[in-house]
């Protein structure tokens, strides 16, 4: 078994360049731009680790790992258009650099490359496609739910969880399952490792919401309270609103229009505290993390084989990866 660093080195070596056609350049320059501003490549890493955990040869996981990373990048390109995101991974987003039309088309052409690399293992195409297509549908549905929720005053906790599950967690879970499929894992093990990824993802997202309001600026890497200033419907907000009494609801809604930024952050955070949303959010993230670990525990492989994913989960949870 390889370490996370070794796996990413293998991956980088294989996909350092020439993964797409070069012509027409107006089409492929934007593709190469988003692919070159690398993120943490957590999805390919999870896929490769899911494969090795169940005794598979990581060589077979490389192309599918690339596929999920290309797919993720395609969704980022289109999401940045929809969300008006000008910066991505510290660089200009694709549509900012090349225009909206180029960003639409660059995203589109990445898709057949995704499916090409995903389906290099002839005997596994069927089950792998089934997982992947279901996941892709959920991701786009999650993006739509996110868009819908921003227009609504009230969103239930269950609705919010479904949205973040679809928008981000299912792909992490699917990466692990795809790796498990490549390794020939049982359906039971596939389900367990999927559940591990799903709950780890949910826990991470909920903590992300928490840290945006309560983290340390240095660690979080962005201004504390940014979500509050943008009136974002985070897990904190959603639970605060559902737990609030009539008076607190009025205050939460009024804060949307508060123009003094410091006052706005302080008011909303005091309501997160008073409604119990702060504690509930922490508890929920912790509970989901435990459930994730429990699913990983239950898989049929040795403790040694579980160790790399267990420590990666710990590092992700500690914001050290």
């Amino acid at each position: 078994m390889h370490s996370a660093q070794q796996l990413l080195a293998l991956y980088d070596e294989r996909f350092s360049n020439n993964n797409f056609h070069t012509h027409p350049s107006g089409l492929y320059e934007p593709v190469n731009h988003i692919m070159s501003i690398k993120g943490k490549r957590i999805r390919p890493l999870l896929l490769m680790m899911g494969c090795e955990m169940f005794g598979g040869d990581v060589i077979h996981a490389l192309d599918p790992a690339f596929a999920v990373e290309v797919f993720h990048n395609f969704t980022l390109v289109h999401d940045d258009i929809m969300d008006n995101g000008d910066i991505r991974r510290g660089a200009p987003s694709v549509h900012k650099l090349y225009g909206i039309n180029a960003a639409i088309l660059a995203g589109d052409v990445m898709i057949p490359y995704v499916y090409k690399h995903l389906t290099v293992l002839p005997t596994l195409i069927g089950p792998m496609l089934e997982v992947f297509n279901t996941t892709a549908i959920e991701i786009f549905e999650g993006q739509q739910l996110d868009i819908d929720f921003e227009k609504r005053t009230e969103v239930s906790e269950a609705e919010y969880l479904k949205m973040i599950e679809y928008k981000t967690s299912v792909l992490l879970a699917a990466c692990l399952q795809l790796g498990a499929i490549i390794a020939g894992a049982t359906e039971q093990d596939q389900r367990l490792v999927y559940d591990f990824g799903l709950k780890l993802g949910l826990s991470f997202q909920i903590m992300d919401d928490y840290l945006d309001a309560y983290g340390e600026q240095d660690k979080v890497g962005k201004r504390i309270g940014g979500d509050i200033l943008m009136n974002m419907k985070t897990y904190l907000y959603v639970t605060a609103f559902s737990k609030a009494d009539a008076d607190q609801r009025t205050q939460l809604l009024a804060a949307f229009n508060e123009t003094d930024e410091d006052k706005k952050i302080a008011t909303v955070k005091s309501l997160f505290d008073a409604t119990g949303a702060r504690q509930h959010t922490l508890d929920r993230a912790g509970q989901l993390y435990k459930e994730a670990m429990l699913s990983l525990e239950k898989t049929s492989v040795s403790a040694e084989q579980k160790a790399p994913l267990m420590s990666l989960a710990q590092m992700i949870s500690d914001r050290q990866f």
Copy 2:
């Protein structure tokens, strides 16, 4: 074997409704809008006919036929954003009705449905995906070439042919090949029927350019000379420019800025005549049509089995389908 009408009836019966999830409605309403304003459904028809021609059971071709139609509609949704097209098949385009973001996301979510329906035949997934992914890449490259060419003064005839081949003909050809694969046709027959579709598509596109300038308004269904008024780089224009002498080139370029519409059309058409571009265009379309028919002829099946595609090609060429 079924007639074209019978095949489309089978197809319509199978895919009349409930082909997509219903929730979130903000995502699927735009999808159902583009799917409900049906076109001629020429792509699914070609796929089904390609299957029956080589003795396949059309039942196996229905899902893949739906896949290529969903894919085609997805490209229309995104192309209409890029081309600022407000009307599609006589109805408002998706982005006109629901906004650009909704149109981007609706197009995106159609993709996993495409691949789901394309891959329902377990033993044929590999070869079918290979044809389809290659074709999809070419289509997006063709769209980029089209965008690039509109910004250039001079485009060679070979470049123009490559653009229309990629942008529209390869999908028609791929539909026929996919049908042939489903029927278990030999690789030689697959190549021949692909070539038939490719050249039929090219011939059709070139005649489309011709008829826009020289057709009868009633038959063409739009104002004669529309392409000229919009300074479109059609096959007529591209060949006229390459055949023109220095003086004629100056006149062609000057016509771009002519504001009197009737005068503009008359001037450019006289240059199409004078340079020989008009005749060359007619000849080229006719030659490609003949080559298409020759490829169909060469396939290893009986004249009877070729007859439906032969007569469909005739009807398409005569603008009766």
